[in-house]
């Protein structure tokens, strides 16, 4: 069965909320600048924001900036097995011989996503590597800084270096849609996009998920989304 996006010439769903499009973080130039500064200056930073608020997209900005020099390690702590260690992630840079001879690279930029799932041992190890200059900057991202279990010594190093993600504005959401849809911007007319935005609580992930849902249900045969489609998917009272 042909997917709606294939009908319009896309290989994948352009409205997927998975953060692999690092270049499309909108309304966040100041946050990006702050993050890049903290990385350059050598700090431990915490990016705080609810699910889908753009934390991973922000981390991808850093990956894009530092990729290609074997200087950046990104890791989603949810995927880090309990037995896995941050040592191995660091030593992997030098391949087999690095691990054999315990060689640890210097001045790495380490980005740890969903840090609430990080084990205590790995957190302490990361702190040690930071103190000893193997890690130049450590960026931790999580839903809440205060409720993330980090040792007092790590929290002391973070100090006031907490970057809080913000809600996306309406114009920002429309801009996001424009970037994602490219030439097919008319698929979701602006008035419909505004209604979808109002349901998203300013959360970019929710906005994209709702837009994708609308397209999936409406664009099987139609060429563009209308009020009728919107009401059929979300009901008359919503938006």
């Amino acid at each position: 069965m042909q997917h709606w996006y294939e009908r319009f010439g896309y290989d994948d769903d352009p409205l997927t909320s998975e953060s692999h499009h690092g270049d499309e973080l909108v309304d966040a130039e100041d946050l990006i600048e702050e993050l890049f500064y903290r990385i350059e200056a050598g700090s431990i930073v915490f990016i705080e924001g609810e699910e889908g608020a753009g934390k991973t997209a922000l981390l991808y900005q850093a990956i894009d900036k530092y990729r290609g020099h074997k200087k950046v390690i990104y890791f989603n702590c949810r995927n880090l097995k309990k037995t896995a260690e941050i040592d191995l992630l660091m030593k992997r840079r030098y391949g087999f011989f690095g691990r054999l001879f315990n060689r640890v690279p210097k001045d790495m930029v380490v980005l740890l996503d969903n840090v609430q799932a990080l084990s205590f041992k790995n957190a302490e190890r990361a702190k040690f590597y930071f103190d000893q200059n193997y890690i130049k900057s450590l960026v931790l991202a999580g839903a809440s800084y205060s409720s993330t279990k980090l040792t007092p010594s790590i929290k002391d190093r973070i100090g006031t270096r907490v970057i809080k993600t913000r809600k996306i504005s309406e114009s920002g959401a429309l801009e996001l849609l424009r970037i994602r849809l490219g030439e097919e911007q008319k698929l979701i007319p602006e008035n419909i996009a505004r209604k979808v935005y109002r349901q998203s609580d300013g959360n970019p992930k929710k906005f994209l998920d709702l837009s994708s849902e609308l397209c999936r249900h409406s664009l099987r045969a139609a060429k563009e989304i209308t009020e009728k489609h919107y009401r059929a998917v979300f009901g008359g009272t919503r938006g």
Binding site: E33, F36, Y37, E40, A41, G42, S43, L100, F101, F120, K121, E124, R125, K127, F128, F130, D131, Q132, N133, T151, P152, S153, D156, R157, G159, T160, R161
Partner: protein
């Protein structure tokens, strides 16, 4: 991104980095020689101090001095896991020693976050010390937790607890001056003002100096003045100094004190009236009718 503020001022890297001792001559509040002597003499000692006063800096100095000789084991304690001392001793050896499981002798064991050490771990450490695998043990933590130490270690720690004090105002000025070198961008009176707001914590002091310099450079300020401190985002408020009792105030307080005393005496004289009132209440207890309660 614009050019970094410290590059504009001619520094290659951030002069206010919070990393322990990026500048080798920066040691505050203790004598490193004494520490090295204690290690050479094979002592067990505990360095205690609040967060940010320089405990990790001290550890870094020890690692720098002995690290290249495969003599140092660093371990950061946590309440959630035990120290595998044997594994760490074997792991500190060369590739062949590790493969053959040969245990090295005369190692220096650094225990960070030692306030979270467990009793069984301290016993294992003592056994390794007793059998000569460990030459010296350096505990570093916020406070000595005597419940987590075996008696033998507790005894050896007598007279071997080093307390790292909070840095003084002039130490703070000295530290920032050393960091900045010849550049007189942050004058001493500004450093003193920032120090007052840092809670005497070197790490906070460095962070506040960094934020101030960043803001000042972005605004094109060539030399920071005291009033510019307000530019620091989320600036902590200055702790309120204890007010001095002036002569006039003391006199006023004495007069007030006398007045209170007199009033108390007067009340005591009227005490029978109060007692009578009590008696009256006991005889006729206060009741609220159901109707009124509704």
């Amino acid at each position: 991104m614009d050019e970094l503020w410290y590059r504009k001022l001619g520094y290659y890297s951030n002069p206010f980095s919070i990393k322990p001792a990026p500048f080798t001559n920066e040691v505050m509040g203790y004598n490193l020689k004494n520490i090295f002597n204690k290690i050479e003499d094979g002592k067990i000692f505990f360095v205690e101090g609040a967060y940010g006063v320089g405990k990790t800096t001290l550890l870094k100095h020890i690692i720098t001095r002995y690290g290249g000789q495969r003599k140092v084991i660093y371990y950061s304690c946590s309440l959630e896991r035990r120290i595998d001392v044997r594994d760490l001793i074997v792991g500190s050896g060369s590739f062949f020693q590790r493969t053959l499981g040969i245990k090295k002798h005369d190692l220096i064991f650094l225990v960070d976050e030692a306030q979270d050490l467990q009793l069984s771990d301290s016993n294992e450490l003592f056994q390794a010390y007793k059998h000569g695998y460990l030459k010296s043990i350096v505990f570093v933590g916020v406070k000595v937790n005597r419940n987590s130490l075996v008696k033998e270690i507790e005894k050896l720690l007598e007279g071997n607890i080093i307390n790292l004090p909070a840095i003084s105002q002039e130490d703070a000025v000295d530290m920032i001056k050393k960091r900045l070198g010849d550049l007189d961008f942050v004058p001493p009176d500004v450093i003193r003002e920032i120090y007052a707001r840092s809670g005497k914590n070197p790490r906070r002091l460095l962070e506040l100096c960094e934020d101030l310099c960043r803001e000042a450079v972005s605004r094109g300020i060539s030399k920071i003045k005291k009033k510019d401190i307000e530019l620091i985002p989320n600036l902590p408020s200055k702790p309120r100094a204890a007010k001095k009792r002036t002569k006039a105030k003391r006199k006023r307080e004495d007069v007030l004190g006398e007045a209170i005393e007199e009033a108390v005496m007067e009340t005591e004289a009227e005490a029978p009236v109060v007692e009578e009132l009590h008696e009256f209440r006991e005889k006729e207890p206060l009741t609220i009718s159901k109707k009124r309660r509704k």
